[in-house]
Amino acid sequence: MNPAKTIGERLAEAGVSRRAFLKFCTALASMMALPPAAGPAMAQAIATRERPSVIWLPFQECTGCTESITRSHTPTLESLIFDLVSLDYQETLMAAAGHQAEAVLAAAMKENFGKYLLIVDGSVPLVEDGAYSCTAGRSNLALLKEAAQGAAAIICVGTCSSYGGIPRAAPNPTQAVPVSAVVKDRPIVNVPGCPPIPVVITGVLAHYLTFGNLPELDPLGRPKAFYGETIHDRCYRRPFYDQGRFAKTFDDEGARSGWCLYELGCKGPVTYNACATLKWNAGTSFPIQSGHGCLGCSEPDFWDRGSFYRPLAAADWGSAKTVGAAAAAGVALGAAAAWAARRRQDRFVKEAAAPADRKPEG
């Protein structure tokens, strides 16, 4: 395999016509929310590029993110890993195992030093030098530090590598941290979600391929193209929110009529993700369309932000105990103030009654 070949040459050899490629790029542009005219320009750009080497490291994670990317339909996982990138290491998808796999990893890191794209899913545990999660006898922490050195950029796939995710949930026994807490000197793109939408993962890769740089990010390091708007803003049930029509339980008339799930704890208004527009399973549906509120899985610490079923409006005002204590304090203060006022009155009355007692002034 000659890695110097451009993607266009490789596709031509594989018998992929220009039409098919143009169509592919049109679909990519559409998915990335670019103007339709970007399709032909992308076709031009991608065709002249070499396939970048991609190394995918799984840390403290559940493989849900890998499961998700295998469902990508634009581009399909096959076309992505065979045509567009050179996926050199991915434990779950690769055929090699054991020492062979580790040798592949070492070789890929060495050959493409400074150029490869590092994809990480899973958080990094810090306790006991990261002993809670190891691959081939090495801690995630050590592996990440080494792999990051030669990475052109790091893409954090999933909420765990982006923000710590579920491993970081209180009480965080492994002291799990996101990649950005370990690596400070490399460009990092967060693609959060539990898991992220498959086409969002591939879309970020496609952006890198097309433009040769990383997409514009929001303050939490997420690509604005996919995380620019809240679920609530793009939700098809939004009109019901505006009309004040809400499902009160999961089996009432409102729920059956597809009304807004805000009262049932939907976190859509404070969750930035593309579920409401791109949807899941090739555009079939997304949680709210299936009748359940948004959990807010693409936001930091979503697991520790109170019950999934408590309405967003129910802020933590305290408890009966704290409010009772405040009330008791208030009553005590009031009583003390009144007592002080009465004493002052008594003193004035006494002084007024016995002016002779007063010391001469001046």
Binding site: A12, K23, F24, A27, A29, P36, H73, A282, G283
Partner: protein, 142 residues
């Protein structure tokens, strides 16, 4: 009856609701068509980028109607190109090999870009044709 035990009812598809977003899309198409008629410069509207419900898309499709030309392009899945009742306004649907819609646009042009043969492909085709012409007759027939 099952229904009486547990009155399951399908969600009234909110999709059947017109959001009011289709008309501005149509206005954009009209503007593109006008520009195309004047200067020959067309354009396209990506329907996935618009917050349209399926009912909105149906309304657009119905309003634009059908014209004289339709074509199917078999390139990594079927793509269909249909002229609408308004000449130069095309309804383009791209599907992947699994038949899933990967892009849907309204394109304003003399001919949608996907139909035209690319020069690179044409060059490769011409070379293959030339090879056939140059080959001995018996070999060509075989």
């Amino acid at each position: 009856m099952q229904d009486e035990v547990f009155p399951l009812r399908f969600e009234r598809a909110p999709a059947a609701v017109l959001t009011g977003n289709a008309r501005p899309v149509l206005a954009e198409v009209a503007a593109l068509a006008e520009r195309f008629a004047e200067s020959g410069a067309g354009g396209a509207v990506d329907l996935a980028a618009m917050p349209l419900s399926p009912a909105d898309v149906d309304w657009l499709r119905g309003t634009l109607g059908r014209g004289e030309v339709s074509a199917v392009i078999e390139a990594a899945g079927a793509s269909s190109v249909e002229e609408t009742a308004f000449a130069g306004v095309w309804w383009v649907t791209h599907r992947n090999p699994l038949g899933e819609v990967v892009a849907e646009l309204i394109e304003v042009a003399a001919v949608p870009a996907i139909i035209a043969a690319a020069r690179e492909d044409a060059a490769a085709g011409a070379a293959r044709l030339a090879a056939i012409v140059a080959a001995p007759a018996a070999e060509a027939l075989a």
